[in-house]
Subunit: 294 residues, 4 copies
C-alpha cells in the first residue's frame, strides 16, 4: 500500500480520496474547506495544513481542482508544489482543465524528473462515490502502468488517450459530443411529442435505432421516461449545466488553438449559456429539454 | 401465404419485394423501370404493367416511393389507387414522406374502408437485402398485428410509434438525431486528431463513455477506424448525403407545422446542404467528416 | 379616381384601405370582423357583406390576409374570387405568403386574363398608417406601371423585384436578413456591455463603422439607446416576434424548395421560436435582446 | 511636430507610419523585415535596429503587431519595452488583440507612469494608405485628447469606446457584427437568386429596406453587383478571411471571459473556419458567398 497526498477535497475529490483510504492507502489530504478535511479524517484519512504539508514523505500526489488557474497556481512558479515534490514521484492530475494548461504542468514536471498523468474523469459524483469513474489519461504508457492500481481504486474504466495533455483532449471531445447528442435528443423528443408521439414510445424506438446514444440509453431528458434520470427528479443531481458549460468552453479553447471548426459543439455551448442566463445553471445538463418545451 | 402487390421497386423496394417472395408470398410488382421488373421476375415474382394491374385480386399492397408527391399521386385523387383497392384490404406505405402527407392518405384510406400503416424503414439497402430493416409504424395497433407477418419477412425490428402518421414522425425524429450525432462525432474526431490524438484511440474512448452513440458504434466517419464503415471505402455505399438531406428537410417541415425549435437539427440540415453544393451529395452521409478536415 | 375592392381589414389592411379613401378612391371593403368594417365606413369607405359583394363593379382588387392558405382560399378553386373578377382587372395581393403560393395565384389569374402583382409590404402598422410602406412587387413591369398610382397612395418605396412571386422572394430574403442583423446586433450589444462598454457609446461606434445596419440605425434593441425604439418601451409596438417567426418560416420554405443553405437564417428562426416558447411572441422582434442579458 | 517610434511595419503599419511622416512627424520605425524598413526610409522615415533603438529620445510610441503574444512580448516582462520608455510618454497600441491582453499592458504601463490607449483600427489596407482609418480607443479621455492629432494623421473617425481595453472590445463587437451581416447578406443573395431574382435588383431592394447594412452598402458579396467590391475581382484585396477568423476568435475569447452567449457570432466563426479548411483563407472575407452557391 502507498502513501498518497490528495489535494482538493470537493464534491469529486473527497469521495475519490475516501476510496483510496478504503483500498488501504495512507492518504494525507488538503483542502481550504475545514469540513472537507474533517470528513476525510472521519473516513480514516489524515488532514494536512497545506499542500506542502500533505506531500511530506509522499511519492504519489493526486489533485482534483476546479479549473486551469488553480492547477497552474498549485504546481507552477518558483514556489509551486513541483519544486517540493521528490524526483521520481508520480503526479495524477485529475482536474478537467485546458489541454494547454495540462501540457505546461507536464513540461514542468518532466524538468523536475517527476512522472505525471493528466487524468480527467467522467462519471460524476455518483461515479466518484461508487469508485466507478472513467479515467482518460495522457502521458507515458509506462507511467499509466505505475498508476493503474491507484486509479483502479477510484474508477472502473481506465483509458490511455495518448501523450501529455491527451487525457484532457479526450475529455473535452467526449463531453462536447455528449452535449451535442443530449441537445439532439432533447430536440427530437420535443419534436416528436409536439407531433403527437408518446415520449416513452419515441424514446424506445430511437434508442434501438440509428438515433441511439448514451443520453437515450442512460439519461433521457424527458421527465418520466426514465425513473432514475435527473429529468424525472426536477433535473436535480447529475451533472450541472454550469459544469457542462465549463467543459464546452474548454473544447472551444482547444478548437481555437488548432483552428478546428465545430459548428454543433459551439452552438451547444451558446445554448447552454442561454440556460445559465435564464437562471438554470445549477440544474442537471439534461434540463436543456426545457428550452424546447412550452 | 398471401398475394401482395408491391409498388416501387427501387434500391430499397426491389430487395424488400424479393424477401417477400422468398418468404413464400405471391408478389406482383410494378415500377416504371423495366429492368427492376425483370429482376423481380428473376427472383420469382410477377411483373405488372401498372399499379392498377398489380393490385388485381390482391388484398395487401406495399409501396416504396421516393417522396410525398409520388405517394399522394399514387393513392389519392379521383383515379387514385385507393379507388380501386378492395375495402378491407391492407396498405403498407413504406416510403419516407411528410407526416402530413401520410395522414392525408390515411384519411382517404379510412373513408374507403381500407386499413393502412405508414411504415417507413431504417437500415438502408444493406438492411433491405438482408431482411433486417427497422419499421416504424403509424396506425391502429390492430392493423399492425395483421401486418406483422408481412413486415417480419422484410425486417427485424417492428415498432408501433402511434396513430396515423406516427411512423413518419418517429422516422424523421430518429434521422434528425442521427444526423446530429454523426456531425457531433465528426467534429469531435477532427478536434481530437487536430489536438494530437490517435483517431482509433479517441473513437474507442468516446464509444465506451458518455459520448457513445450509434455513429461511433457502427459507422465511424473517420477513414480507417472501422474496416466496414463507408468512411473506410471513400464514403461509398451506405446512406447518401442527399437522402439524409431529404429526411432533415422533412423534419423541418414537421417542426414548422408545430412551431418546434430545433437548433441542432436545422444546423445539421444547412451543413448537409453545403455538402451538396460542394458536389458531395452522392457520398455516404458520414462524409460530413470532410467538412472538418483539411 | 378608381373603384377599389379591399379584402382583409386587419392591423395592416385597414389603414391601407383608409389611405386609398383619403387619396380619393372609392373603396368597398370586406372583413370577417364587423368593427373593422365600421372603421372603414367611418373613414369614408363602403362595407361589403362578402368578398364577392366587394368586387361588384370594380376592376381593382387589393387583398391583405394573414397567410398562404387564406390567400389560396380566397382566390382559387371553382368558387374562388378569380372566377368572379372581370377579365382585364388588376389584383394587388399584398399579403406576405410563400412564393410558391403567390405563383399559383398568378398562374390562375393569368388564365382568367386578370393582371396581378404580388406586392408584400414592409414598414409595419406605423408605415401603413402614415402611407409610407415599402412595396416589393412581382409580376409584369407593365402591370406595375398600371398599379403604381394605387400603391403610391399607400406607400413610399415601390420596388419591382422581378416576375410572378419575386415580390414574396424579395420580402422573405429581406426579412431573413433583418432578423440576422437584429440578432447579431443584440449579441454584439450584450457582449460589449458585459465587457464593460457603455451601450450608447458602443451602439454609436458600430453604427458608424462596418458593423452598421438598419437595426443600429433605426431600431436599437438595447433599452434606452433610442428613445423611440420599441426596446425603450418594453418592446411593445413594432413588429411582433411571432410575425418575424412566420416570415422566417416562409424563408425556410423558399430555401427548401431550392435546396439553399442558410445557416444564419435558420438559426435565427430557431432562436425566435425559443422566444415564443418563453411566452414572448407578442413582444417586438427586437426583444431577442432579452435572450442575451441576465 | 513630434518624434514618434513606430513598431511593426506590416501591411497596415507601414502606410500608417508613412502618413505620420507625411504629416510632418519624425518617425523612427522598427520591423523584423528589412524591406519594410527600406520603404519607410524611402518615404522619409528613419530605420532603427531594434524596438529599443527606435524609442531612443522619443515620447510617443505607436505599435501595430499581429497578435496578443507579440504585443505582450514587446511591452511586458523584465526586459520589455515599457521598462525603457520614459515616464510621461504616450503609447498608442493599434494592434487588434484580446481585451484581456490589452488590459495587462495598460496596467503595466500605468505602473510605469506611461499613458496608453488601446487603439485598434478598421478600414483595412486601403484605409491605412488613404489615412482614413477608424480608431476605436480605450483608456483615459484625457489621453485620447493628447493623442488625437497623431491619430488624425492616420485616420478619419476617432472614437472613445471607454476605459482600458474598451477599444479592443468595441473592435471585436463590431467585427463580429460585420461577419454576421456579411454572412446574412450572402445567404439572402443566394436564396433570392436561387428563387429567380436578379442579384442587383435584390441587392438594391434590401439595401434600401430594413435588411440594409454595411455589406450591402459598400461591399456586396455577389460578383458583379458592385464594380469596386472584392467580389467583382475574384475576392482579392480587401480583408482576408483568415484575419476575420482571427477577430471572431478574439470575440469568442471575450465572450468566454464573461459567459456571453453569441449563437450567431460563434456560428460565423465556425463557417469562416470551414472556408479556411477549403483553402480560401487568403480570399476576402466576402468570399463566404461561395459557400452558398453551387
Amino acid at each position: 500500500m502507498s502513501k498518497i497526498a490528495f489535494i482538493g477535497l470537493g464534491h469529486m475529490g473527497l469521495p475519490m480520496a475516501c476510496n483510496l483510504v478504503k483500498a488501504g492507502h495512507e492518504v494525507s489530504g488538503f483542502d481550504l474547506v475545514p469540513s472537507a478535511l474533517e470528513q476525510l479524517v472521519a473516513a480514516g484519512g489524515k488532514a494536512s495544513n497545506s499542500a506542502r504539508d500533505a506531500i511530506e514523505g509522499v511519492q504519489i500526489v493526486v489533485s482534483m481542482l476546479p479549473a486551469s488557474r488553480h492547477v497552474e497556481g498549485l504546481y507552477l512558479g518558483d514556489d509551486g508544489l513541483l519544486s517540493y515534490i521528490q524526483a521520481g514521484s508520480l503526479v495524477l492530475e485529475c482536474s478537467t482543465i485546458a489541454p494547454d494548461a495540462a501540457r505546461k504542468v507536464h513540461a514542468a514536471a518532466a524538468q523536475m524528473g517527476i512522472e505525471m498523468l493528466d487524468a480527467p474523469v467522467s462519471g460524476g459524483t455518483a461515479g466518484a462515490a461508487a469508485g466507478t469513474l472513467t479515467f482518460m489519461t495522457g502521458g507515458a504508457a509506462a507511467t499509466l502502468e505505475k498508476a493503474r492500481e491507484i486509479l483502479a481504486a477510484m474508477g472502473k474504466n481506465i483509458f490511455h488517450a495518448g501523450p501529455a495533455g491527451a487525457g484532457q483532449v479526450a475529455k473535452v471531445c467526449n463531453n462536447q459530443l455528449l452535449a451535442v447528442h443530449m441537445l439532439g435528443t432533447a430536440e427530437a423528443m420535443a419534436l416528436g411529442v409536439a407531433n403527437g408521439l408518446d415520449p416513452s414510445a419515441l424514446a424506445e424506438i430511437m434508442r434501438q435505432s440509428s438515433g441511439g446514444n448514451w443520453s437515450l440509453e442512460k439519461y433521457n431528458p424527458w421527465p418520466g421516461v426514465m425513473e432514475n434520470a435527473p429529468a424525472s427528479h426536477d433535473y436535480s443531481g447529475g451533472f450541472a449545466t454550469e459544469l457542462m458549460t465549463k467543459d464546452l468552453g474548454l473544447a472551444q479553447e482547444a478548437a481555437q488553438s488548432t483552428g478546428s471548426s465545430t459548428p454543433m459543439g459551439s452552438l451547444a455551448l451558446q445554448l447552454y449559456r442561454l440556460m445559465i442566463k435564464q437562471g438554470k445553471g445549477k440544474l442537471d445538463f439534461s434540463a436543456v429539454q426545457k428550452l424546447f418545451v412550452e
